[in-house]
């Protein structure tokens, strides 16, 4: 079918397929198959018997995403997007889904939003969150710093996959925050009517206008579209790969909730400061090691050398096979840092209780209560980047941003 080869996407063609006359728009091709959107709206992938006519003009396959850079009236809120699709739209002509930054899609749903908030749309990055790198944390922090001079609250839209890593990194990078920094994402993408992005974003903007002076996360509290949690960035983990309520505060309750247009905060958070200041370096050479039976000393040798610090996800209260003790001792003796966390996710580490723990402790391995592995990684990168080596261990143990829950209550597991 040589005739097909030159058909550009977007061509509207009349063709025969299995003897029937059909009309449709060419959307693309894979091997010999054309992907065609029929008039009925169905897409087919087929090899037409014959193309009988090619209409003049083409359907545009590229959608221009125009959106207001600012909208609404009231409190200034900057919405910085990093590639999480705040609003997706569907182009029903081609069936294509495309991201949009038109935040008015959300604010215009409720009159109170338009009246209360003046939104600044700040496109910043456009990447999949699994491709986020530590350098970008720094850049994002700088962008937030810049916006903090223009707005009273910052919302950062972000893919959910690595959102808690970024939230932790931002938490440690900011020494003081004069604005709430609220991260928001969606577990069901916004091209579907059942998306959670609208409500998560509505809540995020509301959270961003409070006196919350930390980095928080705004996501569904349950699978119902009823209540949104404000979660502390350094204590939150994505605990389910797909559910709306995947984001859970680990070892503590959410800082607050948004429900029926109202914000209700617990009070258990740092109030915003007079100004925003940040650390300006990050030590990238840090990584996470997941301990498991069968892991060999050989596995670590090359790896450890490349890292200035390592977060170990040990078992239970923070244990790994005792065969690693010497390697770790050598490692920490060389001025590097190893911090123990638990692969249980919930609960504290404690290297005082069991023999292995005490051996690890003597080998120079640090532990810091229930510090989460992801938060430990971000903390380590910031601490190593900005403090002298002799302070690393002490800083890692200290509670800098509420990343260590001193009192775990019964109800939070």
């Amino acid at each position: 079918m040589p005739e097909n080869d030159n058909l550009p996407d977007g061509s509207v063609i009349h063709f025969t397929l299995k003897g029937r006359n059909l009309k449709g728009t060419v959307l693309g091709r894979r091997d010999q198959y054309l992907s065609i959107k029929l008039e009925s709206g169905y897409n087919i992938m087929a090899i037409p018997d014959k193309i009988t006519k090619i209409e003049k003009g083409r359907v545009s396959m590229k959608v221009e995403t125009e959106y207001p850079k600012e909208s609404g009236e009231g409190i200034n809120i900057s919405v910085i997007s990093t590639g999480g699709t705040i609003v997706s739209k569907v182009d029903y002509t081609t069936g294509a889904v495309f991201p949009s930054l038109d935040i008015t899609e959300i604010t215009s749903r409720f009159r109170y939003m338009e009246r209360s908030y003046h939104i600044r749309n700040v496109p910043f990055l456009n990447i999949l969150s699994e491709n986020m790198e530590p350098e970008q944390w720094m850049n994002l922090a700088r962008k937030i710093l810049e916006e903090s001079r223009k707005s009273e609250g910052i919302v950062v839209s972000h893919g959910t996959d690595t959102m808690t890593y970024t939230a932790s990194a931002l938490s440690f990078l900011f020494r003081e925050l004069s604005v709430p920094v609220i991260m928001v994402g969606s577990q069901r993408s916004s091209d579907r009517p059942s998306t959670d992005s609208y409500l998560n974003m509505e809540a995020a903007i509301n959270f961003a206008s409070t006196d919350f002076g930390e980095v928080g996360i705004s996501m569904h509290s349950s699978i119902s579209d009823e209540r949104i949690s404000l979660l502390r960035g350094v204590r939150t983990r994505k605990m389910h790969s797909s559910r709306r309520d995947a984001f859970r505060a680990i070892g503590e309750s959410p800082v607050g909730y948004f429900q029926e247009g109202l914000v209700n905060l617990s009070g258990n958070y740092s109030k915003k400061s007079e100004k925003t200041t940040m650390f300006d370096r990050i030590e990238k050479r840090a990584g996470i090691l997941y301990f498991h039976p069968g892991i060999e000393i050989d596995d670590l040798s090359g790896y450890l050398e490349k890292k200035m610090g390592v977060v170990i996800m040990g078992t239970g209260l923070g244990h790994i096979s005792t065969k690693f003790i010497d390697v770790l001792k050598e490692y920490t003796d060389s001025g590097r840092i190893a911090i123990m966390t638990t692969q249980c996710i919930y609960g504290t580490t404690d290297l005082d209780v069991y023999t292995t723990g005490r051996m690890l402790s003597r080998a120079g391995v640090t532990w810091a209560g229930n510090l989460l592995p992801e938060a430990a990684l971000a903390k380590m990168m910031v601490v190593m980047g900005n403090y002298p080596e002799f302070e690393w261990q002490k800083r890692m143990r200290s509670n800098m941003r509420g990343e260590i829950v001193e009192r775990e209550e019964l109800g939070v597991f």
Binding site: Y33, Y42, M45, I47, K89, T93, R192
Partner: protein, 600 residues
């Protein structure tokens, strides 16, 4: 009875539920309430470029909250909390078999689409649907219809309750595989539509994979008679098609006539409401009093030249307007023709007439609604009147219990569809088609006579086996002997006992015990005894291990007869022997034994 107009065109969309689990997850076909629920709202991605589908916007404007009752046959997929799994292979194969059966051309690639439906009947806000084959033909008796497409789609939620802006659905039906067979609008009358729909339904029935239950076959009927296409949704009983279509013919005829009168009077002007909360001061109408108490305003508008057309004789334009308003959640509308009524007096009506300065042919509308909804309501009414006046009656309507139809929404266009990105394009391999070809369903009557002659059972019995869904087990058992006996058990014994005791006997237990009996050459009495014991709640393993099924031998019977005095009533003797031994008895053996004894 209305005559069908010459230019009538009838087409069908028959939806068949396939009994093979869910289409995109591993849940079962049947389930019950699991005692949990959740709520959702739906958002339309309303800023789409291109031709935005008006029906989507219509439904969106309703601003509803949906509550979903979790069922035991639902998982994270139905809750829209997990991506769909890969397609149900049995359902797809069944669609292929039907396609082959109707000579419809199967596509080599199946692309799963999302069709936006935001009435809450799908938790995701869309229905997954895919085109499986194009063309084909279905015929029955003197009727014949071309098939346009065969699609495989998900069924929607079952609606449980509607309470203002809050609708409750059950997840039990959501995601069941539906095969949708659409015909061209080439039928001329209701009878043809019924026959063709029946033929389509029977073809899935024949595969044994038609789900049992009231909603296993549903059809939408497309109808036109020169005023545009009306799509009538949700006709569940075939026999209702006649009455529904006749009612629709009358409705369109009367509408046409009313429009002509209206136009001849000079037609309407735009409806334009004013607020006058004082006009009915002092009324005794409870409806008005209650509305005012609830914070509603009284909105009044003239309806130029509309007198007598809204509700009088056969004219019902008032209902067309009310139905349209209902879609945006507004219910309280009154008009000239129906007053005085609802406690509103003639004098009060006069006050309205005077206030609005009505002319001789003018009508009026009274809307009990908050002022802030004035413009929305006005807009809906004007658009509705404009459409009716244009003579284009095309729209989607819902079939009602009383065989009338109600306005549901404008016709859906193609612009509701976009690809389901969570599921890869499915390759229909030559092997899959080959496999489907091995077992293509034939028409029901052919199957009935084939079964009837092959197993020596009546056509009636064969037909019942098929409708019961027990043809499969029958064939399996019959291959091992005594088809008639097995047929009797399946067709008479079991349905009878189920009806009487109001229970369901699991077919796999029946199968196990019939198998048990046949393998031991136990006959009819044993099998019947097995069914009785099952119906009493015994488990198959208990029945098998308890020596309950071995029939009494003639010598055992003879021995037992010793203890029985009255040897006249054989069925009484039989009952007694069952009671004592808990084992089956062949009455003819009793008769023979008595005879032998008497001859001694």
């Amino acid at each position: 009875m209305e005559k069908f107009p010459e230019n009538s065109k009838i087409g069908l969309e028959v939806h068949l539920q396939v009994n093979a689990g869910k289409l995109f997850c591993s849940c079962e076909s049947e389930g019950k309430d699991a005692g949990a629920s959740f709520t959702r709202v739906l958002h339309s991605s309303s800023g789409e470029s291109g031709s935005s589908d008006i029906s989507t916007i219509y439904e969106e404007s309703r601003n509803k909250t949906f509550r979903y009752l979790v069922s035991t046959n639902s998982c994270l997929v139905e809750s829209d909390e997990e991506p769909p799994h890969r397609i149900n292979e049995v359902a797809l194969a069944t669609a292929l078999r039907l396609a082959i059966s109707f000579s419809s051309d199967i596509l080599e690639r199946v692309v799963v689409m999302r069709k936006v439906v935001i009435d809450g009947s799908n938790t995701s806000g869309f229905q997954r649907t895919s085109l499986v084959s194009l063309g084909g033909e279905v015929s029955r008796g003197r009727y014949r219809s071309k098939i346009s497409t065969i699609c495989l789609e998900e069924d929607a939620c079952r609606k449980i309750e509607e309470n203002g802006n809050r609708i409750t659905y059950s997840l039990d039906r959501l995601g069941l595989p539906l095969i949708e067979i659409s015909t061209e609008p080439d039928l001329k009358d209701a009878e043809g539509a019924i026959e063709i729909a029946r033929e389509i339904g029977e073809r899935l029935l024949v595969t044994g994979l038609l789900r049992k239950g009231a909603d296993s076959i549903r059809q939408d009927v497309n109808f036109s008679m020169g005023h545009g296409r009306v799509e009538i949704k949700g006709v569940s009983k075939l026999t209702a098609i006649s009455a529904i279509l006749e009612n629709e013919v009358s409705r369109q005829k009367n509408l046409e006539e009313a429009v002509n009168i209206w136009k001849s009077r000079g037609g309407p002007e735009n409806v334009s409401f004013v607020v006058n909360n004082a006009i009915l001061n002092g009324t005794n109408s409870r409806m008005i009093i209650k509305a005012v108490e609830n914070g509603k305003d009284i909105l009044l508008s003239r309806l130029r030249n509309g007198r007598g057309l809204l509700k009088s004789g056969e004219f019902r334009i008032g209902r067309e307007i009310a139905d349209a308003l209902k879609q945006i959640g507004i219910n309280g509308i009154l008009h000239y023709d129906e007053l005085p009524a609802y406690g509103i007096t003639r004098e009060e009506k006069e006050r309205i007439i005077e206030f609005l300065d009505l002319g001789e042919h003018d009508s009026f509308l009274v809307l009990l609604e908050e002022q802030e909804n004035l413009e929305k309501a006005q807009d809906v009414i004007n658009r509705r009147i404009e459409k009716i006046l244009s003579g284009d009656f095309s729209e989607t309507r819902a079939a009602m219990e009383d065989n009338t139809t109600r306005f549901m929404r404008p016709l859906s266009g193609s612009s509701r569809m976009y690809p389901e990105t969570d599921i890869r394009v499915i390759e229909v391999t030559p092997e899959m088609i080959e496999e489907a070809r091995k077992d293509v369903p034939i028409p029901l009557d052919e199957l009935v006579s084939q079964i009837s002659s092959e197993y020596g059972i009546s056509g009636q019995d064969a037909s019942t086996l098929i409708w019961n869904g027990s043809l499969g087990i029958f064939k399996k058992m019959a291959a091992r002997g005594d088809p008639k006996m097995i047929c009797r058990i399946l067709v008479q014994k079991i349905p009878e006992i189920e009806r009487k005791r109001e229970i369901r006997i699991p077919m796999e237990h029946v199968e196990e015990l019939i198998d048990f009996c046949l393998s031991r050459s136990y006959g009819r009495y044993s099998v019947e005894r097995a069914i009785d014991l099952l119906s009493e709640g015994m488990s198959p393993s208990d029945i098998e291990s308890g020596n309950f099924l071995e029939p009494l031998s003639e010598s055992e019977i003879t021995d037992l007869l010793d203890s029985i005095n009255d040897k006249k009533n054989i069925s009484a003797i039989s009952r007694k022997m069952v009671e004592i031994t808990k084992r089956p008895v062949d009455n003819s053996l009793i008769a023979r034994a008595i005879e032998k004894l008497s001859r001694k």
